[in-house]
């Protein structure tokens, strides 16, 4: 059995402290194929679980007949809603989604039944022999109509998940220059490569151990316990290797299903989605319909902004309310605007459920306000950088919710940096691989026009609006084999971003030891919160730092007794107790002996506050992170094909704990934003997903993605550990609008929808 190797780190000798770029400790396992991802798990008597899903966006279930499925040789269990022992409901913010549909199905792909069998194909075939009697119901598929009085209700009492009104200054403000637009953003998928997978192992105490790829073990545990009707001590979660997440693993997928099957069959159960099922098995980024208006003085200074944003939440609430919070409170970007009227709505429909994805409510609105900012620039005769320099937020400004931006807000500097980066050389038409259309041989430069676009954004870091956003870390220091070893144990999910490396770096820095073991990630320690909202280096990093400080205090107190000196004069470095000037006083080994010092600490960032429900005013966010992009594109205007030539960026990260990893986050985040601008959309018609495959849902390849110039600024946030600022999301927000702006610049077309398709450019 290999279930406990998912995140066990064997290479513990990686050097490097805060500010260095040590290599990730799991790198060797990942390049040799030995790293155990969730879909790699195996148990010698395991069976396979599969899910039967609804083919209808909205239907009443009249009955389910499992008789025939049960007769299939090799089948060990067939389960329906009747077999859910606890509450048949889960959800991140509201438990509104059935574990298995009982009376209604509300979206295409909703889980209806489960099968366990000795072979995945047997299970799939048996699932097809479950007879579900559906009465198909009218579906609400246009979110703009979902709030109409005559729209069918997806849930009682109605289809509004959240309306966030935001009012600041004079709602009737007028201005001499007015620009407005409608903008639409398609439904993006996280498209993490490692499919949803898990292995549930029934335990002797009647409970279950679940090894699963996820973003937040404890929020999963809470929901699983509710559905299983079991206490947390009986439902133990272990992080299996995670093949990317990007928000798509915040909601439950295989979790409860695998546990139900394991508890029913008494055997370990593996579930692993294929790519098509994955498109139905997790929430997506909300598609958005936005109407924006800016009023400005003739010099371009903003006087007012009005915005109305409708986000399609799909069939269940997931994190829609929080996404609406961001789309409202951050929906006008990093600009100084005295008079503001914003209304952000999240609605229920019978479309696929939408929830968290990298950028979380800020990605959609950035396309609108950045397109409108370019429109304003044109109206007053400024260039895109000038208009943003004129209106850009600065440290100490008050944002549109009345919150003071109380650390660095380098909007102007970021823009100037990307503007002044070297431009790529003119189009190289000598090699068609460098042209739009590439080896399709569609052009050798004829009809190709270059365009440049800019974008700047800001995003909240961490959970907002009063959420108790904390993380727990346990750090243990002891001597082993004559060497000091620190062990750090958290429940924080490493999803590829490099959090385990950061934890090691912090322990080395705070405890002055070389060897740091990252304990397997599980629910045997308190919650670390979610690996999302660009928050883990800040919050779990803060917890690890605080736990190290607590360990150090104990060690130094012991040393003080031993040395008969005040602890305040002592330090810990290089496995030695050192004095005020760094002189070695004694060895750590002498102080610790055979003892281990272990401390567990909960860390909280500054509290945030709910916004006023009528005005949207309040200090909703703990920290803001800023980034800017400049995109250069070559567009074959005859065929509508786009080649992104350059995608350069600058970002303030507060403090780069691991500079190489920071740049890696910026590269990858930028690619996802570019993907939304150019190609990524789940096409949904009448509630049906039309392209659930990597054949038809395109993500950027290495041919699509240009090399990037990246400039990292480090303006420390005095409130954050080491001054860090979240890194992961801003690049996904500012890259796409820059690409869209560059295509508008090249083509002269308004292009008010992303992804921009060839036919939008050619008008055919």
């Amino acid at each position: 059995m290999s279930t406990d190797t998912g995140t066990r780190i064997t290479a513990t000798t990686t050097a490097g402290r805060v500010g260095d770029s040590p290599l990730r400790p799991d790198g060797t396992l990942k390049v040799t194929g030995e790293f155990a991802y969730a879909s790699d798990l195996w148990h010698d008597d395991m069976v396979w679980g599969v899910t039967l899903r609804s083919p209808h966006p909205h239907a009443r279930i009249r009955g389910i007949d499992i008789t025939e499925a049960l007769t299939v040789a090799g089948v060990t269990a067939v389960l329906t809603a009747d077999d859910v022992p606890g509450e048949n409901a889960f959800g991140l913010e509201h438990a509104d989604q059935p574990v298995l549909a009982a009376e209604f199905v509300r979206y295409e792909g909703e889980p209806v039944a489960l099968v366990a069998a000795d072979h995945p194909e047997t299970a799939r075939r048996a699932a097809q022999r479950i007879r579900v009697d559906y009465e198909v119901l009218p579906a609400v598929t246009d979110p703009r109509r979902a709030m109409d009085d005559d729209a069918p209700a997806v849930h009682r009492p109605g289809n509004l998940v959240r309306h966030l009104p935001l009012r600041r200054g004079n709602p009737a403000a007028r201005a001499p220059v007015v620009v407005s637009l409608d903008f639409e953003v398609g439904m993006q998928d996280q498209a993490f490569l490692g499919p949803e997978s898990g292995l549930a192992v029934p335990a002797e105490d009647g409970g279950v151990d679940l090894y699963v790829a996820t973003q937040w073990l404890h929020v999963d545990q809470r929901q699983i316990c509710l559905a299983l009707g079991m206490p947390p001590e009986k439902v133990r979660l272990h992080l299996a290797g995670v093949g990317g997440a990007f928000g798509g693993r915040e909601d439950l997928s295989v979790h409860v299903h695998a546990c139900l099957l394991a508890l029913r069959t008494g055997r370990p159960v593996k579930m692993s989605y294929g790519r098509e099922e994955s498109f139905f098995g997790h929430v997506h980024r909300h598609p958005a319909w936005m109407t924006y208006e800016f009023g400005a003085e003739r010099d371009g200074s903003l006087v007012y902004a009005r915005a109305r944003t409708v986000l399609d939440g799909g069939a269940y609430a997931s994190s829609t309310a929080a996404v609406v919070g961001n789309a409202g409170t951050l929906g006008l970007g990093p600009y100084r605007i005295p008079n503001v009227t914003v209304d952000a709505y999240g609605v229920f429909t019978n479309n696929p459920p939408c929830g968290a994805m990298r950028g979380f409510g800020c990605v959609q609105t950035a396309f609108a306000y950045e397109a409108l900012m370019d429109e304003l620039a044109a109206a007053v005769g400024l260039d895109p950088v000038e208009i943003r320099l004129l209106n850009g937020m600065r440290e100490g400004d008050t944002n549109i919710t009345g919150q003071v931006v109380d650390s660095a807000a380098p909007v102007a500097e970021l823009l100037q940096i990307v503007r002044d980066m070297p431009m790529p050389p003119p189009a190289d038409t000598s090699d068609i691989r460098a042209c739009p259309g590439a080896v399709c041989n569609t052009t050798h430069g004829e009809g190709v026009v270059r365009g440049v676009g800019y974008s700047v954004t800001y995003k909240n870091v961490g959970f907002s609006e009063g959420f108790d956003d904390f993380s727990t870390a346990r750090v243990r220091l002891e001597m082993a084999g004559g060497e000091a070893v620190a062990t750090v144990h958290t429940a924080a999910a490493e999803v590829g971003q490099g959090l385990i490396t950061v934890q090691q770096q912090i322990c080395r820095t705070e405890l002055g030891v070389e060897r740091v073991v990252v304990h397997p990630t599980n629910t045997a320690v308190g919650s670390s919160g979610s690996t999302s909202a660009s928050r883990q280096t800040y919050v779990t990093g803060g917890a690890v730092k605080a736990a190290c400080e607590a360990v150090r205090a104990v060690v130094l107190a012991r040393a003080a007794l031993f040395l008969e000196r005040p602890a305040a004069e002592l330090g810990l470095d290089g496995e030695k107790i050192v004095g005020a000037s760094g002189e070695v006083l004694t060895g750590l080994a002498e102080v610790l002996g055979d003892d281990a010092v272990e401390e567990t600490v909960e860390y909280r960032h500054r509290p945030t506050h709910a916004v006023d429900p009528e005005t949207g005013q309040g200090a909703a966010h703990v920290q803001f992170a800023f980034s800017a992009h400049r995109a250069v594109v070559d567009v074959d205007v005859e065929l509508g094909l786009v080649k992104v030539i350059a995608l350069d960026t600058a970002q303030d990260v507060g403090k780069a704990i691991n500079p190489d990893a920071v740049v890696g986050q910026i590269h990858g985040g930028s690619a996802q934003g570019m993907g939304l601008a150019l190609m990524e959309e789940i096409v949904v018609t009448d509630g049906h997903v039309r392209n659930p495959s990597f054949t038809d849902y395109l993500i950027p390849t290495i041919l699509d993605m240009p090399s990037m110039q990246v400039k990292v600024l480090e303006y420390a946030d005095p409130h954050a550990p080491y001054g860090v600022r979240g890194v992961g999301e801003p690049p996904t927000i500012s890259s796409g609008p820059a690409v869209a702006a560059a295509i508008r610049a090249a083509t002269g077309k308004p292009l008010r929808r992303v992804p921009i398709r060839p036919e939008h450019i050619t008008g055919t």
Partner: protein, 156 residues
Amino acid sequence: MRITTTVNGTEHEVDDVWPGESLLYVLRERMGLPGSKNACEQGECGSCTVYLDGEPVCSCLVAAGQAVGREVITVEGLATEGQLHPLQQAFVECGAVQCGFCTPGLLVAAHDLLARVPGPSELEIREALAGNLCRCTGYEKILDAVRLAADRQAQA
């Protein structure tokens, strides 16, 4: 049915294989070699890339029966005598690995490229790796890693 295939130089024989199983499934679930990855099983992402008689293929698109009597090399076969292959070493050093799910397929594809084209140009690298999706890195550090390995190969 019975499948007999040489994988990474060792002959593997497995029984009771359902004829619909892919080479990828047999490698991962029956031969204990889960290094080749199952990101799409649609032949689109390249994460399952292996050598089949020296040709890189998507093992998810190869029926297990087609691999009978043939020679397969997977990511688990790239390191020799406990030493990482220079490409593997370069991927680790350059930060080309984040979540790592695409890495096994990219390594096999890049390995094939460097065997065919020593010192490839940037466009040659991009073209050769265009069938391998990565969602984490934006590909920049993957390019760095392939170039580094090519440089080291040239100096060796």
